[in-house]
Amino acid sequence: MKTWIAFWNILKKDVRNYYLKPPNISWGIIFPLSWTLMQMLRSYGGVNLAEIRNLLPGLISMSVLFGTTSMLAVTITFERRGRSFERLLLAPISLSAMVAAKLSGAILFGIFNAFVPVIFAAFFVDLAGINWGAVLLAVFLIAVTSTLLGLMIAVSAKEVFEAQTFSNFFRFPMLFLCGLFIPISSLPVFLRPLSFLLPLTYGTDLLNRWILGASMMSPALSIVILLGFAAALFALCQYNIQRKWIL
């Protein structure tokens, strides 16, 4: 019960203090929208609204990736600089509960971001026949793994600008390596193994399956792999926090 009160209030504070701030909300809306338009122009040499459905999995993945990684890295680095993060480290709740609360805010923000392109697309094409429950599951798994990557970055960064730089260093390559807009089969052969080391590849594949009806792997396998990534990253983050933040 006590842990739950602490968990809920950490989450609520983060949402209020960081995620509901106008700049972040507008970033969360404008960035996916401009990518959507850009991709449409690039792919079809003109705005062909009917094709938007084909772009949707990549756009959703990208929105989640960008919504989660830098937000968490930046907010945690910010709190560490202001030393308010020490309060969380000193709270009598387990480190994993505290970390889970910090992650939850970013995960929710990522999920919110995911539905920006969906809502945009819904104005122009018929999205009937999509299993939204399955899509939500895929979005959730992408959000969890991307948020954990953001946390990994936060653990290594000392300054806010470092956190931003690190997260861009990771996520821009991921846009191209994880099959968001370029199918993995058309990547140079030597890059492909790299794709399969990144959780976003499996998340995007799930979205392809559930929105477009085609995927490289069976959804069950992708889900298992994503859960494995999440567990491993969570453990690694906790280990790193123990090692680096409790001096």
């Binding site: 602490a6 504070k13 203090n17 308010s84 309060r87 000193l90 709270a91 001096l247």
Partner: protein
């Protein structure tokens, strides 16, 4: 082990690379007392506190709080302690009230309980109006007070304060010292670090001097003072030139050392406490009137200087540095 001991620190050491910040220190804190760690900047006070609260890992040694091993089980120990860090670390974008409520929530307090406590604390610290303003708009003294309020919102059994009055205005500092004594009166055990000698003297039951990571002396204020003086000294001011009486006085009060300070003032130094009336009667009988009798006591500052070899002036300079800095 003394059952009254609520905190026991044994052979605690912290090394950063080859540098030893805290060097094999041991001490204990009894339930309900205020213990102070007094030392200049860089002595290892913050490092010691950080290890005790579970924010830093000792290189060696053990810490027990309420029978709980802090090194092995920091989360259990953290439930019963309150922490006031040297730097205010609340959330700048949140107002005072929300900051307090959030801190209460971290300790699992229900909404009703934490809001009630937050209001009480704001009132107690004269911050009720400021409670609606964002923390970043607070003055230094207000920040420190709110940080202390945040440290005690869950009514901890033991409170750790790292230099709580450094660099703030006199009135806030006085308010904080009053609060510490008040908390002690209600049974809270307090561990405080400071480089203000007078502060340690005023609020602490027991004091340890720390220099270069080592505890060089410890005890109650009077024990520390006795450690550098030998016995008690009385100074008597009279109306007559006492020069002719010194030998007679020495003969009459053989246990004491009698010294002429000026022509009409003498000191008597004894191992034991000195009863006044025989002296007064004797002098009266000689036709000497005594105007003033005073016990000469060394200040804690004298003790500190004598034991540590650190000039009080240097410590005072540290003080100013502290005041201007963070």
């Amino acid at each position: 082990m003394n059952t009254q001991e609520i905190v026991t620190v044994t052979n605690l050491t912290k090394r950063y690379g080859d540098f030893t910040a805290v060097d094999n220190i041991s001490f204990s804190i009894r339930r309900g007392e205020i213990v102070g760690l007094l030392g200049p900047n860089g002595a290892g006070k913050t490092t010691t506190i950080n290890m005790m609260i579970g924010l830093a890992r000792p290189s060696a040694g053990s810490i027990f709080i309420n029978g709980l091993d802090v090194v092995k089980n920091p989360k259990k120990a953290q439930a019963v302690i309150g922490i006031v860090p040297d730097e205010s670390n609340l959330y700048g974008e949140m107002d005072g009230f929300d900051n307090l409520c959030f801190c209460g929530a971290l300790y699992g307090m229900t909404k009703a309980a934490r809001e009630k406590r937050a209001r009480e604390l704001l009132d107690q610290f004269d911050l009720t109006k400021a409670g609606k303003r964002p923390f970043r708009a607070y003055s230094k003294g207000m920040r420190r007070k709110l940080t202390i309020a945040a440290g005690i919102i869950h009514e901890p059994e033991i409170l750790f304060l790292d230099e709580p009055t450094t660099g703030i205005d006199v009135e806030s500092a006085r308010q904080i010292r009053r609060l510490l004594l008040d908390l002690k009166g209600r049974g809270t055990t307090i561990f405080i670090t400071t480089h203000y000698i007078e502060e340690a003297e005023r609020v602490c039951d027991r004091i340890a001097f720390i220099v270069d990571g080592r505890i060089v002396a410890r005890g109650t204020v009077s024990e520390l003072m006795e450690s550098i003086t030998h016995g008690h000294t009385l100074r008597l001011a009279v109306d007559t030139d006492l020069t002719p009486f010194v030998e007679k006085l020495q003969a009459r009060f053989g246990d004491c050392g009698v010294e002429l300070q000026s022509s009409n003032a003498i000191t008597l130094t004894c191992k034991e406490r000195i009863p006044l009336s025989p002296i007064l009667q004797y002098l009266d009988g000689m036709g000497v009137s005594v105007f003033e009798v005073r016990e000469l006591r060394p200040t804690l500052e004298d003790v500190f200087v004598k034991i540590t070899g650190i000039e009080a002036a240097r410590l005072r300079k540290e003080k100013e540095k502290g005041g201007l800095g963070r």
